[in-house]
Symmetry: C2
Subunit: 336 residues, 2 copies
DNA sequence: TTGTAAGCGTTATCAT
DNA sequence: ATGATAACGCTTACAA
């Protein structure tokens, strides 16, 4: 209904062929300077804009990438998790620099039919996957399809694809070691879906941290649940039933940790003094909780940017390397 | 490099023409049941998938909508604001039901060149705009282009487009009235970019609420700043300098309110008793702050869903009506 | 009921 | 340096 001005209209107005217009507009070398400027002037006067659909179709590209957030029915980390949102923002901003659009969607972790939708249907040129399952069927399919994608997370031993992220195991280990150093003896673990890579790694790091401190690993102190403050609150009750002498909690995300702190407050247990709490992610609100939350900082902005850059290397036919980003323990009031 | 199976391949394999395949795959009425099934079987055996680019191009559609977040350089509400993220999640989920993709992007409030990118370039079929400026150039352009779009926010008096959202003025008024009823006398206002519609409306509601309570409106108690916790912290300092007897603060977003509470805590001022704080949005963390944050609840999920539905009505050629959603004062510990 | 052919708007090949 | 023309993969008149 609008934009009915096509390249043919411009060609007619400029008295040349569509090929010449196309070349002029794409700064083709064979077009002399003055012809190019002349055609570009006509085009802009006519308010001509190439139809990206036609262009992408012809060029067999999409100029779009998909940022996908896996979820699992039972333990569905909502897309409203601040960590997700922050990395989404970072990715979107970086993509914008490249003139690419970004599709955001949630995909079920147990299936790979979304690979069809995004890869086979040619909806996007590449995929950014935020987190993954231990034996991720979607990733297998992406590889089988020879799709270009980058995964958020640390590089796994046998990994044959590109990932960008922090070493969750090391981060969790450091968090728990910190709790131990503060004199905590009975430290609980609250994680998300057990089969997600990051949760699994943090679970291992938790155990390693306890061992580092000479503390026993008690399975009763490990709870897996939803990635939500609500679920985390229930987990706290469970933990306290199993271990009334609990004096420390390591939560797999700040989003959860916030719920943990709130329920403790409601129970009249002073966070920091009675029970220390450490989270993960260092979302922007972490420093503003009360008490401010001790957590493992992940360079989210940098990570998002890097994922995009790596993806473009892949799209460019290069062999990109995975990168493990540094994390940092942010000691705040919730644990001291 | 993959998916090189086109409709022509299927036609050849099935011994029919491409038109017949196309019709069979699109459940065209003229194709007899058994032929259809036969062709569909062949297609799925060959793992055929239509190229959405080609299909959309031919159909002159995009099957994609853009969810755009306006920002302004000076007062750039970051896309990481939990409210933005939550509504983005709601929209994305609803869009998924329709089989549509959602492009997420930030657009500068002072320009309208993004209209070219999304509308003229035919990148999307419609637009969801989250918030707007008082005299929004982008919206004017969208209307001039006859684009299909829905805006988040309450319906303005002269408004000739569709919007979905809560009545910010009424919400703010209620928030401030609540503070007044709790005996607060010196209530400050911390808002975002002054020329954004929602901030402006809340500013007006703030004044109305004060008047309702028989309190004077003091311009010195009104501060406009960035939509971030950091900025809100500075705003608190400003307010306290101007009015050391400040006993209440109404912040335009929970994201800001969290920063407000933290800085007050750092200053040793007890939130709730000494200074009451009320936020806006009721983001998922609001109930988990400490103290839990009194705020104006907006039905974000419902709002996102409704925006999508309204947009599809427009795309369908219908004349959709704006809808004002109910808000609700959530009284929590930060104000009592 | 099915096939032929045109066309969506662009770029690329091959001439000239 | 530029213009015809084909082609990208699909849908849809129009014919048969």
């Amino acid at each position: 209904m609008t934009n009915r001005v096509t390249i043919a209209d411009v060609a007619r107005a400029a008295g040349v062929s569509t090929s010449t217009v196309s070349r002029a507009l794409n700064n083709h070398a064979a077009i002399p300077e003055h012809t190019r400027q002349q055609i570009q002037r006509v085009a802009s006067e006519m308010r001509y804009r190439p139809d990206v659909r036609a262009r992408n179709f012809r060029l067999q590209q999409s100029q779009t990438i998909a940022t996908l957030f896996p979820y699992q029915d039972a333990s569905r980390r909502p897309i409203s998790d601040p960590f997700y949102l922050e990395i989404m923002g970072a990715i979107t901003d970086e993509l914008d620099q490249y003139g690419y659009d970004s599709i955001i969607a949630r995909v079920h972790i147990e299936t790979d039919d979304w690979c069809n939708r995004y890869v086979l249907d040619k909806r996007v040129d590449g995929i950014l996957l935020i987190d993954r399952a231990l034996d991720d069927v979607g990733i297998h399919t992406l590889q089988a399809l020879d799709a270009k994608f980058v995964v958020w997370g640390a590089k796994l031993p046998e990994q044959t694809y590109v990932s960008v992220g922090c070493d969750s195991q090391a981060g969790a280990r450091e968090a728990v070691r910190h709790l131990g150093q503060m004199g905590r003896q009975r430290i609980g673990f609250i994680g998300g879906f057990e089969r997600m890579v990051e949760t699994d790694a943090r679970r291992q790091g938790y155990a390693a941290g306890l061992t580092d401190c000479g503390l026993p690993v008690d399975e009763a102190l490990v709870v897996f649940t939803d990635f939500t403050p609500d679920a985390a609150q229930n987990a706290v009750h469970t933990l306290l039933e199993r271990a009334p002498d609990l004096d420390g909690i390591f939560a797999c995300s700040d989003f959860m940790a916030v719920g943990v702190m709130e329920v403790l407050r409601q129970m009249g247990r002073e966070v920091g003094r009675e029970i220390a709490v450490v989270g993960y992610d260092d979302i922007s609100l972490a420093a503003y909780c009360s008490p401010p939350l001790t957590t493992i900082h992940q360079p989210i902005q940098q990570g998002g940017r890097l994922m995009v850059q790596k993806l473009f290397e892949l799209l460019d036919g290069q062999a990109a390397e995975s990168v493990v980003l540094p994390h940092e323990l942010m000691v705040r009031k919730s644990s001291v």
